[in-house]
Amino acid sequence: MAEMGSAATRVEVTLKKATGPGDDKVHTWPNLVRAEFLCTLFVMIFLLLWSLLVDAPLEEPADPGRTPNPSKAPWYFLGLQEILVFFDPWHAGVVAPTFIIMGLMVIPYIDINPKGNGYYTFKERKYEIITFIFGFHVLWISTIIIGTFVRGPGWNWFWPWEVWDAHLVEALTNQDLPYLVGIRDYWTAAVFGLSLIIGFFVLGTAAMYWWVVWLKGREFMQRWGAARFFLTSFLTLNMIAVVIKMLLRHILNVKYILVTPWINV
């Protein structure tokens, strides 16, 4: 009986192989080539019509002596220009883009969920998708939209229906967080700010650790490994930190959390 059973399985396996992978294949010509051809055709017609109707911008000749207000970077970089409001240039212009590029590159290595490979599913990869959409749509695209449509002269906030007033002066009421909570001494302020930031990352990492263990179990954490875990929590906490800093500014007018002679955060 046992013998027969295994023989039967073997036949079944061979049969599966014979009809298995590859059996829903179709000829590239014409199936795929036709789709690509039609796609090309539609896109080219659209591009041609658009180019006939809308001219590429050309302003007055370059004049290094006359700075326009506002001066905006190309639209696809306006997300970074927008977070310049909240972070110093070394952070918004150098560290943040580096983290974004690195963060994108490591996605395939930190995501070890074998499910959802090659098909659309939300159920099987909820947290991956939510995180990606948070970073891509909520942070990146919304800051581009803000930078493009609601920032006017002086990088002030103008709703689309408001007139750009180049002479609008917004009172600079920003304060550093240590000052806000009553710290007047220089060194205490620096220590306070540094502890807040270190504390945020330490507590955040711990919270994330417990959350993942609670959600997925210890066995998962073991398989995931320390390197993947720390990378993921570091990158996630950075994304959250951007939102926290934005909220602190918009709600409490906080300028910096950490103030030192070398860097401010």
């Binding site: 591009l47 006939l52 590429a56 905006k72 240039p89 212009g93 590159m105 395939p108």
Partner: protein
């Protein structure tokens, strides 16, 4: 009459010249369908057979293909523009005006170049989003995702360097604002944190390296021109070759059978 035509057609198609160019007939046979792809240098980027879902617009959104199409459009229209454009501060702006008003199809070519470049940026983001949503970066395609991220960065750099070339107010100020970040690079930028360590100064730091000098000027124009028309397209083409090669090697993603 029609028999004469058929005779002529037969003679042409059986001639040595014709047969040296076209290797097979056009009858719709499985063999010809495969030869159509494998015998054609452009089409053989594809495998001769693909899984059904991979031909569906709702799976790929055709976004990688559209990104590539936009790239090709900018290459073709870009060559046309290069015939009339000199990357010299005195001429650049006038050349653009000249191109717009005096060259046959000049305005159209410039428009198509510009809008295809924007289109490429949008398409590459959507393509990345699609690849993410289908989980197509998972093993064995991890590395092709990394190559993709490099292509994304290269796409942005292509667009950014091209932004300067019209040499109008929009161009130099957008590029100034974008490049000022270079000055804030920690260690390497004149205004960045810890700049004293390496002793960088306004005419010798990360931004000056990008600009080819302490301020944006004629030297920057030449530099961006070469980056835009030669260097970055070359690098992009290399990575595109890797990208496409890897898609073939790793197979197209799809649900397990």
């Amino acid at each position: 009459m029609s028999s004469q035509f058929d005779e002529l057609k037969r003679q042409v198609m059986e001639s040595q010249v014709w047969q040296s160019i076209f290797r097979h007939g056009y009858e719709d046979t499985p063999r010809n369908r495969i030869l159509m792809v494998s015998g054609n240098v452009w089409l053989h980027l594809h495998p001769s057979k693909v899984r059904k879902h991979a031909t569906r617009l709702r799976f790929t959104w055709c976004m990688g293909g559209i990104t590539f199409l936009m790239y090709l459009v900018t290459v073709v229209t870009g060559v046309y523009l290069m015939f009339y454009y000199r990357p010299v501060a005195e001429y650049a702006y006038a050349d653009i005006k000249y191109l717009e008003f005096d060259m046959p199809f000049g305005m159209l070519m410039r428009n198509m170049h510009r809008w295809a470049a924007h289109g490429m940026v949008i398409a590459v983001w959507l393509h990345m989003f699609r690849v993410f949503m289908t989980g197509s970066y998972k093993p064995p395609r991890e590395f092709n995702w990394v190559v993709g991220v490099l292509l994304l960065v290269l796409t942005l750099l292509l667009s950014f360097t091209g932004y300067l070339l019209p040499w109008d107010q929009l161009a130099i100020w957008a590029v100034s604002v974008g490049s000022n970040m270079g000055r804030a690079t920690p260690l390497l930028g004149y205004e960045g944190p810890f700049n004293e360590v390496l002793g960088v100064n306004p005419i010798y730091d990360a931004r000056a390296f990008l600009f080819g000098g302490g301020e944006i000027g004629a030297h920057t124009l030449l530099r961006f021109y070469i980056l835009h028309c030669i260097f970055i397209p070359l690098v992009t083409s290399l990575f595109l070759a890797v990208h496409f090669w890897r898609i073939r090697r790793d197979g197209f993603s799809g649900p397990a059978l």
